[in-house]
C-alpha cells in the first residue's frame, strides 16, 4: 500500500509492503500520518501556536514543554557540541530545530511501524528515506542538476538515506564559521542505520563546505557511507557506499 501525505511543508511518501489486510495497513498509515501531524503541530516554525513558536516568544519554558521538545532541544545541543558547532539549531539567530526534527520524526515513525508488526516498509519525507524489511529497497540519489535523473542507485535493506542540498531551497544551510549560506557542496547524501543521524550528518557536511570530505570519511567508521557533489560538479563517494547498477 502506498500513500502520500502533505505534512511538515513537504510530501511524505509511505509504502507498506507486508502482506496484511488492507484495513490493517490503512490503520498503520493513519497512525504514521497522525504522528507526523502531531510533530508538525509541535515543532513547526511556520505555525504561530506551535510549541517552538511559543518557546521563541518566551511564552513557553523548557520545563513546561512536551518531553519530545525537550528531547529535541537536548539532542540539538549535544550535536552542536559533537560537530564543533557546525550543526547549529541557532544558526538563523533563534531556535530552529527543523534540521533535526524531520529525520528524527521519520525514524520514530518507522520504529512505530516495526513495533506494530509492519516490518517491510519505507517512508520518504521530502527526500529523506527510512527503509526496512526483508527485501532490498532501491533508492535513487537525485541528480543535483537534473531533477528527473539520479546520480546513484543505492541498495538499502534496513537503513536510512538522507540528502542535504542547495538545489531545492537555495542556500538554506549556514556555515557557522562564515555566517553565510554554505555553497561549496551542491548535495550531500548519507547512508546509514539511523535516519536521525544520517540527516544530521548530511546537513552538517553541507554546512562544513570544503571540510566536509574529511568529516564524511571519518563517519564511515560509524557505519555511515556517503556521496558528495561539489558546486563545480565533482563527485566523491566513500568506498563502501552501497551502489547498485
Amino acid at each position: 500500500m502506498r500513500h502520500v501525505e502533505q505534512v511538515m511543508g513537504t510530501a511524505v511518501s509511505i509504502e507498506l509492503a507486508d502482506d496484511r489486510p488492507d484495513e490493517e495497513l490503512r490503520a498503520l498509515v493513519a497512525d504514521v500520518c497522525g504522528w507526523l501531524h502531531e510533530v508538525d503541530a509541535r515543532f513547526s516554525t511556520y505555525k504561530e501556536d506551535s510549541e517552538v513558536s511559543r518557546l521563541r516568544r518566551g511564552e513557553l519554558t523548557y520545563a513546561d514543554s512536551h518531553p519530545d521538545l525537550q528531547h529535541v532541544l537536548g539532542a540539538c545541543a549535544d550535536l552542536w557540541r559533537a560537530t564543533d558547532g557546525y550543526f547549529d539549531a541557532y544558526a538563523g539567530g533563534t531556535i530552529d530545530p527543523s534540521g533535526y526534527v524531520k529525520g528524527w520524526s521519520v525514524e520514530v515513525a518507522s520504529a512505530r511501524l516495526a513495533a506494530a508488526g509492519c516490518h517491510t516498509h519505507y517512508i520518504g519525507a521530502g527526500g529523506d528515506i527510512r527503509a526496512r524489511g526483508d527485501r532490498v529497497w532501491r533508492v535513487g540519489v537525485r541528480h543535483p542538476w537534473q531533477a528527473d535523473k539520479v546520480a546513484w542507485k543505492l541498495a538499502v535493506t534496513d537503513g536510512a538515506v538522507a540528502t542535504s542540498g542547495t538545489y531545492e531551497r537555495g542556500g538554506h544551510v549556514i556555515n557557522p564559521r562564515t555566517g553565510r549560506p554554505a555553497t561549496f557542496l551542491r548535495s550531500v547524501t548519507v547512508v546509514g542505520p539511523d535516519l536521525t543521524l544520517a540527516d544530521v550528518h548530511a546537513t552538517t557536511a553541507l554546512a562544513m563546505e570544503s571540510e566536509a570530505l574529511s568529516y564524511l570519511e571519518k563517519l564511515t567508521a560509524e557505519g555511515y557511507e556517503s556521496a558528495a557533489v561539489t558546486e563545480d560538479g565533482q563527485a566523491f563517494t566513500t568506498p563502501d557506499l552501497p551502489v547498485v547498477a
Binding site: S13, A162, S210, Q234, A235
Partner: protein, 170 residues
Amino acid sequence: MRRSTAAVLGTLTGVAMIAGVRMTVPTQIVPVAEDAPADAPADAPADDDAAPADQGGAAPAGDEDEGGDGGGAASDTGLTDGTFKGTGAKNAYGTIQVTITVKGGKITAADATYPTAGNSATINPAAIKKLNASALKAENGDDVDAVSGATFTTGSYRESLQSALDKAKV
C-alpha cells in the same frame, strides 16, 4: 576606560583564537592587559593569563611586525598609535586577517576580514585519497523505489521523480 579597553582586547583575543590568527600586534599591548582590573568582564584576559597576543600565538616584539602604518609615539598605555594587521590565518575558506586601530593609546577599532571569494579553497588532499572521485552520472530513475534528494516543498514535489514514482505505484 581601561575596562572597556580590556573588553575590546578580550573580544579581539576571542576573534584571534577562533580564527587561529597568528597575531603580530606589537607586544606593547601586554601591559594594558596585565593592568586589567581583577573584576574585568569574563572575556577579558585575566592577570595570570598569558598576554592576549600570546594566546593568539604572538611573535616576539618586532618579529614579523607588518603593522604600524601610523607609527605614532607610544602613550602611557603602552600602545602605539596606528593600524596593526595580523599576518592572516589561512583556513579552508580563505584567509582571515585581524586588524586593530590604536588612537591616543587606546584601541578604537578591532576588525576581522573574512574571505569573500567563497570556496576557492582546495579540498583536503588526505580526505580525497580515501574517497572515490568520479564524474557525476545521470541515470534514469524509473527502476528505483524511492528517491533521496534535498528537501522539496509541496510545490516542487509535484515536479519530482519521487512524485512520478508515487503516481506509478499507487
